[in-house]
């Protein structure tokens, strides 16, 4: 048993830190590093992000876990994870979809043509993707999706709607699951496509969220895409979608930001006076911190279980569900505790001159809402844990 990372992994962490320190001196750093924010989408559509991604690519940080024949380094997935922890700790956008689910699905199931077109772009950090799964009627029940793709000669024609597509407004390509066989059982008639975001008939409208982060609805009105852009086989899309979750098993959950937030809260409460005394002299605050410290450590352990299982070569479905369930609920609890400690002044937004911690906790209380809903709600995670982990029957 060893709770430390291996020597080679620690060396890698040092390298990444050095890279990030260097990068901090670049002009665009302010547009990319935002350690205080909750979600990265506010910065994610900036030009700085593209520059930064290309620097990551140049430094060899993209596609580390891909096979060498595709330009990767055949490194263990843990390096993607370690990189993401470091990126998260400086508030930079994480590596994700491109080298993760999209790249790996293409490698495993894509045609030579698609591999040749997309893999090099991904490795160069040139392309941004959006993920089109959810629909107005398909949230937790993703397999009930209805976006229609009909074959018309050498083209697929799309009609319908996607919902909650976070990067749609700046992405280049849209990775979309659509229904290609309406007669088949619901999981069986789905295919996956790559669609250029600027395709005629594709319309993006903004959805603003309580957490200030932008997401989108995407409408398809006779959007035509060449059959070359079908990923893998027709009607096998559900398989690819499920498999893809597995490709990201290492990178999905970083724990650093939660720990950093907890530490920042402790520092803030030490320095905040009420009636002349630091808040940390209050017994209730002290006990709350003690309990949260235990919870943060517990979340860390749940995250370590994901890593350890993945390193062992297992698919950590249940481990990841536990980690996601616990740490997102904890994130919300942390924000609530912070506001209760800060009292009414904690309600002030970033734009108020005297907002404690520049409104960080006010924002956190809004922004963490999405965490227990998106990416599989807490209720879905509990279904996974009880059915796959505990073997309980579903009705």
């Amino acid at each position: 048993m060893d709770f430390d990372f291996a020597a080679s992994e620690r060396a890698f962490i040092s390298d990444v830190r050095e890279f990030l320190t260097t990068h901090r001196e670049q002009d665009e750093a302010d547009g990319v590093f935002a350690p205080n924010r909750e979600a990265d989408s506010m910065l994610s559509d900036s030009a700085a992000r593209r520059v930064f991604n290309q620097r990551l690519a140049k430094a060899g940080y993209l596609g580390m876990s891909w096979d060498e024949q595709y330009g990767g380094q055949a490194r263990d997935g843990i390096y993607d994870y370690l990189l993401n922890e470091e990126l998260a700790s400086v508030g930079a956008p994480l590596i994700g979809k491109g080298v993760g689910c999209i790249g790996k699905t293409l490698i495993n199931h894509g045609s030579e043509r698609l591999k040749k077109e997309f893999l090099p772009q991904i490795l160069r950090g040139e392309t941004e993707f959006a993920l089109g799964y959810s629909e107005p009627g398909a949230g937790s029940d993703l397999a009930s999706l209805q976006l229609k793709a009909e074959r018309d000669g050498e083209y697929w024609v799309f009609n319908g709607q996607k919902m909650w597509t976070t990067s749609a407004h700046f992405a280049d390509w849209y990775w979309v699951a659509a229904r290609t066989d309406p007669a088949a059982a619901k999981h069986k008639g789905i295919s996956v496509f790559l669609i250029p975001m600027d395709a005629p008939g594709l319309r993006i409208t903004e959805i603003r969220t309580m957490g200030d982060h932008r997401t989108n609805q995407v409408f398809f009105d006779d959007v035509r895409v060449h059959t070359d852009y079908l990923v893998g086989e027709e009607n096998q899309g559900w398989l690819y979608v499920c498999e893809a979750l597995d490709y990201e098993r290492f990178t999905l959950y970083t724990i650093g930001p939660l720990r950093t937030k907890f530490e920042a809260l402790v520092d803030l409460l030490k320095l905040t006076l009420r009636d002349g005394q630091p808040l940390t002299t209050k017994d209730s605050v002290r006990r709350g911190i003690a309990r949260l410290a235990c919870d943060v450590e517990t979340a860390t352990m749940l995250q370590r279980r994901v890593i350890a299982a993945a390193l062992r070569g297992d698919v950590p479905t249940v481990e990841a569900a536990m980690c996601k369930l616990y740490s997102t609920e904890l994130g919300r609890r942390l924000a609530d505790f912070a506001l209760d400690c800060l009292g009414p002044m904690g309600l002030l937004r970033r734009s108020a001159a005297d907002a404690p911690a520049a409104g960080k906790w006010e924002h956190s209380y809004r922004a963490t809402v999405v965490d227990t809903i998106g990416g599989g709600s807490s209720e879905i995670q509990k279904n996974i844990i009880s059915r796959r982990g505990l073997g309980l029957p579903s009705k």
Binding site: S134, G137, G139, S140, D141, S144, M163, W164, I207, R208, T209, M210, G211, L273, R274, D275, G276, K282, S284, R332, D336, L339, D340, C341, G343, P344, M345, G346, L347, L348, R349, S351, A352, A353, D354, E362, Y365, R366, V369, V370, T372, I373, G374, S377, S378, E379, K382
Partner: protein
Amino acid sequence: MELDFSEEQERLRETVRKQCRDHASSTAVRAAETSASGYSTELWQALADTGITAMGIDPEYGGLGMGSLDSAIVHEELGRSLVSLPLLDSAGVCASLLQLCGSQALRQIWLPQIASGDTVLVPAWQEAACSPNTDHWECSAVTAAGKLQLHGEKVLVPFANSAAAVLVALRHKGALAFALVAADTLQLREQPNHADQKLFAVDFTGVEIDALAKLDAGDATATWEQAMLQTQIAVAAQAIGGASSMLQMANEYAQQRQQFGQPIGAFQSIAHYLADCATEIEGARYLVYQAAWACDQGRPYAQLAMMAKLQATAVYRRSTVTGVQVHGGMGFSADADPQLYYRRAKHLQLMYWDTDYLEQRIAAEILD
């Protein structure tokens, strides 16, 4: 043991609810959040015309002399529609202070205007680094040449930009005192906040006012305590109204939203969340009514009022957490309504005496 409202009270509720329906749709609430005044002047006028602004004020000054339970009904309905108004601040806290501590002259000038709704006064009491415990407040006044020279900053003053005057809590000759300061002499700094309410920091340093503007006639500390206890009940009622709306929305959504071939409300996970919410809300609702009723009966009600505020706002908060979760993506979408309730709940929980202070007070009442 009779927990129904009188017909008159039911009519009052219906009246206010209708006015909220007319003037406080969620679109109107959003508009108010971003308007200059921060509230709907149409709704204010409609309520004033119905006498709502006069409810708690003595008939002698143009008021209706109505009780705490009537006030709870009004605030529950306002809370249900997320209405934000300087009602509690002006016709509640400021009117109470004027009635019990103001000179005859001040009462005659201000109370009829407050009762009619023509004028808004707001209290300025919170300080950035202080709890609600008055002993620690630092804003002060000194007498010099028949004038009062003020010093210090108040924060989170609601609707100060719409007020004719601010009633500021001060330390004067070692004791708590209140004084009226015309709003046009003050520098306001807006404090953008979680629930997008109109709140301002007000710097009183350097402000000089006439000594007669001080409320000298009664016991300032006792009056403040009473006014804030009444406030606890009203805010608790708002919280219950808001929580009830949130539950209703979540319930409707759960019945209508289909996933996995059935309404999500058919899943026990969702159904049991809502059952817990409903239980807590109904319990807290009668806690609020009981506090108001005890107050109207002339019985001790301080503890009941504080318990009502602590519990009702906690329940409101929890019900909004559940409510947004049940709504899924719609729960965090800015264009859907759950987030409005989510933000308001935390606002009410921390403003007007927060959890920390209420727990301490309630414990002291039981233990010391």
